[in-house]
């Protein structure tokens, strides 16, 4: 469903152009969860933003192909891209505290993609919004619908972000470090929720993270990036059990383990 071919992303905001993604090839099949891992600056977020159509700066150049349902997103016009954003391709971000508009009600924000992409009336939109708010396991959805972001906790806001992202039943959900800003128990809940949504909605997930233990719980396949290059890719278990690259072994070795003191 998503196929990235020879993607290069180059910035021209300095005297010497800087390439942040080199020749990247990656596939995400329908309903699949693929993890994209690597340290900060490895190019994983740039790749995600490029797929979501959110890299539109004039001082950068993207070459290669991003094929989504056989359509090359890099060749799409802005209008064509906007029709896919929020309806076919959705994205959730790292910071739930700041990713929601502070002066708009949750209901308004969750319904936004419906307002932009469908002709549903207010009543139908609200019904659907309450439905997805329940699907992301928020309590008292009527109250949440009327609330403002500052009235919710970080974990609740990330659930709201997920609800808003899936309201139009997209084919692809890009989750850019969605648990990094949350504490550990909430992280586990969000990962479980993403798994549930993946199964219930048959939505493919591109899960960007530097946390390999989460990736292992969630993803069927993993791609490892370093300095803008894809260094290794394969099924999650084989990557974890038999990593081929030294860098992947280092990343796996860096996962904190709980050991007995005696």
């Amino acid at each position: 469903m998503l196929e990235i071919r020879n993607l290069n992303i180059e910035f021209h905001d300095h005297l010497v152009p800087e390439t942040v993604v080199h020749d990247l090839n990656l596939r995400v099949a329908e309903g699949e969860i693929v993890g994209l891992v690597g340290e900060s600056g490895s190019g994983k977020t740039m790749t995600a933003l490029a797929v979501a159509g959110l890299l539109r700066r004039h001082d950068m150049q993207k070459t290669g192909e991003i094929l989504f349902q056989e359509k090359n997103l890099l060749e799409c016009g802005r209008k064509e891209l906007r029709e896919l954003q929020g309806s076919e391709i959705s994205m959730i971000f790292q910071e739930p505290m700041t990713s929601l508009n502070p002066v708009r009600r949750i209901g308004w924000q969750v319904e936004e993609a419906l307002r932009l992409h469908t002709d549903l009336d207010q009543k139908k939109r609200k019904e659907r919004a309450l439905e997805v708010l329940s699907q992301v396991e928020l309590p008292d959805v009527e109250r949440v619908y009327r609330a403002y972001p500052h009235e919710l906790s970080g974990g609740m806001r990330q659930r709201v972000m997920i609800a808003a992202a899936i309201i139009c039943k997209p084919k692809l959900l890009i989750a850019d470090e969605p648990t990094t800003a949350l504490d550990v128990t909430i992280q586990a809940q969000i990962v479980k929720l993403l798994l549930k949504i993946n199964r219930e909605n048959q939505v493919a997930v591109l899960f960007i993270s530097h946390d390999l233990s989460l990736v292992r719980q969630l993803c069927t396949r993993v791609a490892v990036m370093q300095n803008g290059y894809l260094v290794e890719e394969g099924r999650t278990e084989s990557i974890f059990m038999e990593p081929k690259e030294a860098y992947t072994r280092q990343l796996i070795a860096a996962i904190p383990k709980i050991e007995r003191v005696d």
Binding site: S99, L100, R104, E112
Partner: protein, 313 residues
């Protein structure tokens, strides 16, 4: 409910303090109302008799108390200079000054909002720079001088209005509004320049927030992101500024009324201060304080409407 009660209490406390301070100030500053009424030829005994008649020999607190009670009953005293009730002299002037201030306020918004948004949308390009330069120049010019320039250019050169040809609101309301346009513009321009600079910066800053990326990811175009997401956030500091400006504009009106010969509160205030006509001055200042306090009462719920994080407590 609790909020309204508290606001009303603070309203009356502030008003009492302002009126007492004005009262006390006139007791302290040099100048004798009896002397300015009778002139320098008056004998000391004539002056003493008049002071007694005016009640100036009584203690300050007693005078304040009796003034406050009369004011609450609608009696603002009698003008020393004109021997007329103050209420009759100033009540019909209040609408003039208030209209001028409100018109200036509306013009500020009408000028600042579109230009601020336009400048932010074209950040760093020539329209932005042009608006910036014009704003800097306008901000540096005080309203009364701007008033003189406007009178010269639009009144004497282009003859769009007749300088000094004030039209009373009782006889021709539209003509009255027309005459107030340029004075209001003189008050509005420097404030509009400030507000647009603030709005431009605020829009540019908000455009870098995370929620903007979220809005784009849902398929909004640039205008939808700007008007449905950024603007309401960007307006928060601007509304705070405009709230303070509105009270400033009443003070601004008083000065600009002089330049454009508008018979509002400003004119009568100036003549009363120089003539030591304390009852008139006192009444005008208390009325201005009432206007300012009422404006603040109205502005608070507007903040709340625009920023849900503010609690009305």
């Amino acid at each position: 409910m609790k909020y309204i009660v508290r606001k009303l209490i603070s309203f009356f406390v502030t008003l009492s303090l302002v009126s007492f301070l004005v009262f006390a100030a006139f007791a302290v500053i040099p100048g004798d109302p009896a002397l300015s009424k009778l002139g320098t030829d008056a004998t000391p005994s004539q002056l003493a008799a008049l002071r007694g008649e005016m009640g100036l020999n009584r203690p300050l607190l007693v005078r304040f108390g009796s003034w406050a009670v009369s004011f609450l009953q609608g009696d603002m005293g009698t003008s020393y200079s004109y021997d007329r009730p103050v209420a009759g002299m100033i009540l019909d002037k209040i609408p003039i000054t208030l209209t001028l201030a409100l018109m200036a306020f509306v013009l500020t918004i009408v000028i600042a909002l579109p230009l601020g948004i336009y400048a932010a949308k074209h950040e760093g390009k020539w329209p932005d720079r042009l608006i910036y330069c014009m704003g800097q120049v306008t901000m540096a010019v005080p309203p009364f001088f701007l008033g003189i320039l406007l009178t010269f250019f639009f009144g004497l050169v282009l003859r769009w209005f007749t300088p000094g040809g004030y039209v009373s609101y009782q006889s021709d309301f539209l003509g009255f509004l027309g005459y107030l346009f340029f004075p209001a513009l003189a008050i509005a321009l420097p404030k509009a320049a400030m507000a647009l600079k603030l709005l431009r910066g605020s829009v540019i800053q908000e455009a870098r927030q995370d929620y903007v990326k979220t809005a784009y990811s849902r398929g909004n175009n640039t205008n939808q992101v700007l008007y449905k997401h950024i603007l309401k956030n960007a307006l928060i500091p601007v509304v705070t500024f405009l709230g303070m400006t509105l009270t400033d504009m009443i003070a601004g009106s008083i000065i600009v009324e002089q330049v454009f010969s508008i018979p509002g509160l400003g004119r009568i205030l100036m003549t009363s201060i120089s003539g030591r006509d304390y009852p008139v001055v006192q009444a005008i200042i208390v009325w201005i304080a009432i206007l300012v306090l009422v404006i603040n009462l109205i502005v608070d719920p507007i903040y709340k409407g625009i920023d849900p994080r503010i609690r009305m407590e």
